[in-house]
């Protein structure tokens, strides 16, 4: 019993200590932003590698999700004779919800875990230590550019996800199931609002970008510098980042779409 309490206490303390370190880490990363802006090329290079990592899976998943949405929503809407609303239904689901969330989950699994592994291995092989001894701050040189790149990349990837999803829904709805082509697009145009829907979706994906990049980079930087430590941190990145995205999504949705 005492043992159990002790373990619980130790676990709680460890978690708080970890949270403290993570906050300091974020602060340190943010303090590096000016230096990153002075070297935009570093961000662009990271943006490229992160984008390339995630693009294929985002395209494929976006298309698949859009096609499934087309099928499912058509089946419901057709009962009410409202299949002309298929366009806005698909677009709203994607732009408000599935685009930011699914893209963030895929991003955490693909790019997030890769970032953790990269930084963790740099730590385990003393590359970060070596950099410090060369009077170069790895927080500024390695972490900060990746953070910015991650925060910029996710909204772009979410947008691509949503766009490809709409196309997928269009193929199924208009191409296979015979929904009217003109109605599909014109209804979508009139019912999707730029501020309420598109912008809120973008805000969501920016928040998710911050969270996923933060978790991934922190887990890499804070890793136990052994092979096993790195593999555990990589797993943790995917789990923590995914849970954080889902939890935050609920909160953000509640705040954003109260009276829409």
């Amino acid at each position: 019993m005492l043992n159990w309490l002790q373990r619980l206490g130790r676990g709680a303390l460890d978690n708080f200590a970890g949270l403290g370190r993570a906050s300091l880490f974020l602060g340190h990363t943010l303090s590096g932003l000016p230096s990153v802006l002075a070297h935009p090329r570093r961000v662009i290079a990271q943006l490229h590698s992160i984008g390339v990592l995630s693009l294929v899976i985002i395209l494929v998943a976006g298309l698949a999700v859009g096609m499934v949405l087309g099928l499912q929503m058509y089946n419901t809407l057709v009962d009410f004779g409202a299949e002309a609303s298929l366009g806005p239904a698909i677009a709203l689901t994607l732009v408000r919800e599935l685009g930011p969330v699914v893209a963030a989950l895929l991003f955490a699994g693909r790019a997030g875990s890769a970032l953790t592994a990269e930084i963790g291995l740099m730590k385990a092989s003393e590359q970060l230590s070596g950099m410090e001894m060369m009077a170069v701050d790895p927080m500024l040189r390695i972490v900060a550019p990746r953070f910015i790149a991650g925060v910029l990349a996710l909204p772009l990837l979410s947008a691509i996800f949503s766009a490809v999803g709409v196309l997928g829904g269009y193929f199924v709805g208009v191409g296979l199931l015979g929904v009217d082509d003109g109605a599909f697009w014109s209804q979508m145009q009139s019912r999707v609002d730029f501020y309420d829907d598109v912008l809120n979706g973008v805000i969501k994906s920016v928040v998710f970008g911050i969270i996923v990049s933060w978790v991934a980079l922190f887990q890499g930087y804070d890793t136990v510098p052994t092979t096993e430590g790195v593999s555990r941190s990589t797993t943790r990145t995917v789990v923590y980042a995914s849970l954080a995205v889902l939890g935050l999504d609920f909160i953000l949705t509640a705040l954003m779409f109260r009276d829409v």
């Binding site: 003393e126 590359q127 070596g130 009077a135």
Partner: protein, 275 residues
């Protein structure tokens, strides 16, 4: 202050250094001097804190008490910015080489130069090729670290460590795990670079023969204390049990072979109680 900074002959001065990892005491009052222009070696069994000492000198770890002065500056008291300024004058070759795996040999050596100077790319190219030539690897500048042997990786790390013409260079176990020819090459390089560039070298090692051949001065540490120091010939002739054990490679003696542990019998009996 002026007294603490030591004579201008001494580049690095360690006084009364104490440090522990948690409850494990690593240093318990260590004094050392590293003279300018000399090759000084820290020797000691595995796990005595040789790497830790280099990290103290480089300011990556702070002592619990005691002083570390480098070039007249008290390292533990420096701000982050001052520390980084000081580190530009230090080169370090890590135990594993610590090359950036995502960069070619050329870019690895160019890295500190690009970070700390605004030299045009043409000049950087000449400079990097010169440093690589000094370690005999100019021909390998296009290779990636994964394509290098362990010995080559260390030589590249050496070229990178001297890229900014530092005042001093620290080598962490430069010979471990190398074939005899590579060991010979690295030994010659350390001595040659020290003498031609006029810098100060600190080596951490437990390879007695190699180190005796190239060092001007040796510190032997064990159990948190300096147990002997002097020129290699003095140490080899020393009458002290500790020093003899180490210099002549005897497995047991005053230096214990075991990591500190509770009594063996108690430990075994305790283990039985757990199941």
């Amino acid at each position: 202050m002026s007294e603490m900074t030591g004579s201008s002959e001494t580049l690095v001065q360690v006084r009364g250094l104490k440090f522990s990892y948690g409850r494990r005491v690593i240093f318990d009052g260590v004094d050392m001097d590293f003279l300018r222009g000399k090759v000084t070696t820290i020797m000691g069994p595995s796990g005595t804190g040789k790497t830790t000492m280099l990290r103290m000198i480089g300011g990556q770890l702070r002592p619990d008490s005691g002083q570390v002065h480098v070039d007249g500056q008290s390292v533990p008291e420096l701000s982050r910015r001052q520390l980084f300024e000081l580190r530009k004058k230090m080169g370090m070759m890590f135990q594993t080489g610590a090359l950036f795996t995502s960069m070619s040999v050329f870019d690895n050596v160019a890295f500190p130069v690009r970070e700390h100077t605004n030299l045009p790319e043409q000049l950087i190219r000449d400079l990097v090729l010169m440093k690589l030539e000094a370690v005999g690897l100019r021909g390998a500048h296009k290779l990636m670290p994964a394509e290098l042997s362990g010995g080559m990786a260390r030589r590249v790390a050496l070229a990178r460590a001297i890229a900014l013409d530092p005042l001093m260079i620290m080598y962490d176990e430069p010979f471990t795990g190398q074939d005899p020819i590579t060991v010979g090459v690295i030994m010659q390089l350390i001595r040659k670079i020290n003498d031609t560039l006029g810098l100060t070298s600190i080596i951490v090692s437990h390879d007695v023969a190699e180190v005796s051949a190239i060092s001007d001065y040796i510190y032997l540490i064990s159990n948190g204390k300096v147990i002997g120091h002097g020129a290699p010939s003095q140490l080899a002739a020393s009458g002290s049990g500790w020093v003899t054990q180490f210099m002549h490679g005897q497995p047991d003696g005053p230096v214990p072979f075991h990591y500190p542990a509770p009594d063996y019998a108690t430990d075994l009996l305790d283990g039985a109680g757990h199941e």
